[in-house]
């Protein structure tokens, strides 16, 4: 059995994990960076074609405090002020450092070019043309990680369990996908940077390997989750016609630059009817736009495939090409000419506001365990502002790397603690089509735990998740072999089912509507619910409690 030993283990090689690894290594730590996919290829960062928010404008034009005020307002009363502050304040530094690392932020004259995204009080969202923000960020960080001494990078490693001793995390056990064998890691500090849970839904904007792994790992290791009911749906995810080779949320930057009109099945503008304005500009926030589209479809005024029309037909072809050049050609190979055709869009799972509960140093309540990026809950409250995800990944990644590198010695790894988890990695269960079970979980979550919830729907979802757990059994199917997607999927489903249960439990308890959590049976915001919900896993299962929103310091 392969055993690796390191100072800092980072799980997940998206924006947060790569930055954490770089920061820990430049503080002198020996770092092992794992990803269940290949390094810098999976996760959400590489898929993000959009913009990154930070107050990087010239002196006097913006300040992180303005960005902070917008972030807090968007969070509908539930943001952790310390985390929101770290995002906005450190965000400026990491965006500048990325610039020094030549990520290639678009420029206007000698300044960084910036657009104004919905919910922001001014233009502060930087980007890399054309629709290349995420891939440029991934590529740049991967390059820096390669050049930074002390970082071992290892892909094809799906972490299945954390290893604990006396309530502290001392390492991890992974399925090495390439060989089908267990990999044991002992580490002085572990950073979870596995991103969110978008793969729990049928249509999502992130990679297929974002199934909430880190949330389940943290819960099982004794850490707390917070705000798990707040799943952000991106309102204008691509729906039809079939588009391949492109990110389904690519219409967002189109709207920033060109406006675009959102129309119902009758060709009418409708967002105004739901108390927002949008007409040709792009100012409506994500939760409100998702609400408007979903309600319009429910009222029988949807587009043919059950969404809304997005139209750029009023924008001259020359202007389309000037704004998006090569992307216009890629659309054309998909048979789409924006000067002629409208496209159909509808809400798509995009980001998770909830996650692992940490302090402003990214430390969980479990000694030796840290988290970073989307895996962290609390910074964005009940609704995340456009552009805050990559900023959060980078700023939190840097802080987690620093904290993990500075973690005092003293935790001792014992192979005995890893034994059960290592045996499970190569266990041989009965045949079962896990891909099919996973698709069923996605249907259940999309149908009952999407942007609109009800007590009845959530109860049905809870029953379905229990049934799926029973069907998945207690061991992965078949014998271990090289690159066995069924075994990968079984461990992924094991994580996902616990995460689904967490979301359902928190959503059931929150009997009000706020931000990304909308209850059909409790349609109004209830001031008594201006509090966070915390989950932990005990011997009696998942337990939840209400905790006050931390005060601003």
């Amino acid at each position: 059995m392969k055993h690796l030993s390191t100072d800092v283990l980072v799980v997940g090689a998206g924006g947060a994990g790569l930055y954490a690894a770089i920061e820990a290594a430049r503080r002198g730590a020996k770092v092992l960076l794992l990803d269940r996919s290949l390094i810098g290829r999976g996760g959400a960062t590489v898929m993000a074609q959009m913009t990154v928010a930070a107050a990087v404008g010239p002196e006097g034009t913006d300040h992180w405090r303005h960005h902070y005020a917008d972030t807090i307002a968007a969070g509908r009363g539930l943001c952790d002020p310390a985390l929101a502050r770290l995002l906005c304040e450190a965000g400026v530094e990491v965006i500048r450092e990325m610039d020094r690392w030549r990520v290639g932020w678009a420029r206007q004259g000698d300044q960084l070019a910036a657009v104004q995204a919905p919910g922001h009080d001014r233009a502060r969202c930087v980007y890399v043309d054309f629709l290349a923000t995420g891939s440029a960020v991934s590529k740049t960080l991967r390059g820096v990680a390669q050049r930074t001494p002390g970082i071992t990078r290892l892909g094809d490693a799906l972490v299945t369990d954390l290893v604990t001793r006396d309530g502290a995390v001392t390492g991890a056990v992974a399925l090495h996908v390439e060989s089908g064998q267990p990999l044991i890691v002992s580490a002085n500090a572990t950073v979870i940077a596995t991103g969110g849970l978008t793969s729990l839904y049928r249509r999502s904007s992130a990679s297929t390997n974002m199934a909430g792994d880190g949330y389940a790992l943290a819960l099982r290791a004794g850490a707390e989750l917070i705000d798990m009911e707040f799943v952000q749906f991106f309102p204008i995810g691509h729906l039809a016609p079939r588009l391949i080779g492109m990110d389904p949320i690519m219409w967002d930057p189109f709207r920033y630059k060109l406006g675009g009109r959102l129309l119902n099945g009758l060709g009418q503008e409708f967002v105004e009817h739901y108390g927002s304005t949008d007409s040709g500009h792009y100012v409506v926030t994500r939760d409100l736009a998702t609400y408007a589209i979903t309600k319009e479809v429910a009222a029988g005024r949807g587009s043919p495939n059950g969404g809304a029309w997005l139209s750029f037909r009023h924008v001259p072809a020359t202007q389309l090409r000037a704004a998006f050049g090569p992307v216009i050609d890629r659309l054309s190979t998909n048979g789409i000419d924006l000067a002629r055709d409208e496209v159909e869009v509808s809400p798509i799972a995009h980001y998770h506001m909830g996650g692992i509960r940490v302090n402003a140093y990214m430390a969980t309540c479990v000694p030796g365990l840290f988290a970073a990026g989307e895996a962290v809950g609390g910074a964005n409250g009940a609704n995340r502002l456009s552009g805050n995800a990559i900023t959060e990944a980078l700023a939190f990644g840097r802080m987690a790397g620093c904290s993990a590198a500075e973690q005092p010695r003293g935790l001792v790894f014992d192979a005995y603690d890893a034994q059960a988890a290592a045996e499970l990695v190569v266990a041989e269960g009965p045949f079962c089509n896990i891909a099919k079970l996973f698709a069923r979980l996605q249907s259940v979550m999309s149908d009952h735990v999407g942007p609109f919830r009800s007590a009845a729907g959530l109860a049905a979802a809870s029953d379905a998740v229990r049934a799926l757990s029973a069907e998945a059994g207690t061991a992965p199917p078949g014998k271990p072999q090289q690159h066995d997607l069924a075994r990968v999927e079984w461990f992924s489903l094991r994580h996902a089912l616990l995460v689904a249960e967490s979301v359902i439990l928190a959503a059931t308890a929150r009997t009000e509507s706020r931000g990304a959590h909308q209850r059909e049976d409790f349609p109004h915001l209830d001031p008594d619910w201006t509090c966070n919900q915390m989950l932990r896993l005990t011997t009696c299962g998942l337990q939840h409690s209400r905790v006050p929103v931390p005060a601003a310091t």
């Binding site: 392969k2 290949l38 892909g155 990679s207 080779g245 492109m246 090289q482 999927e489």
Partner: protein
């Protein structure tokens, strides 16, 4: 009548004799080869191995393989209502079926 695509897929590991599995998958205009492969796993054979992470966005660049002898990304190559032969990349170590070790050597377990 619904049309189908017939995928002939190279099966097995590096030491196995060369064999092909034949799978019929539903064809609709606009589907990708990756859609076809995922359909096989969800409906008939979950043991089929291939790489993908981003799902049809051409961002992860993991789904490289051979279609009728030519290198493609499975996520951007269109499924067609005909027989299509899929092989693993010839110049990378074969793991199993269509999956090869494409990571750089210093990002693999030694």
């Amino acid at each position: 009548m619904t049309q189908t695509a017939i995928l002939l897929v190279r099966r097995g590991g590096p030491d196995d004799p060369v064999t092909y599995g034949q799978f019929e998958v539903p064809f609709e205009p606009g589907l990708s080869v990756l859609d076809g492969l995922r359909n096989i796993r969800a409906t008939s054979d979950p043991t089929l191995a291939f790489r993908y992470a981003c799902l049809n966005a051409n961002a992860c660049k993991e789904c490289l393989m051979l279609l009728d002898g030519k290198v493609i990304y499975a996520c951007t190559a269109r499924l067609e209502p005909r027989e299509m032969r899929l092989d693993p990349l010839p110049n990378k170590p074969l793991l199993r079926d269509l999956s090869t070790a494409i990571a750089p050597p210093d990002e693999r377990l030694r």
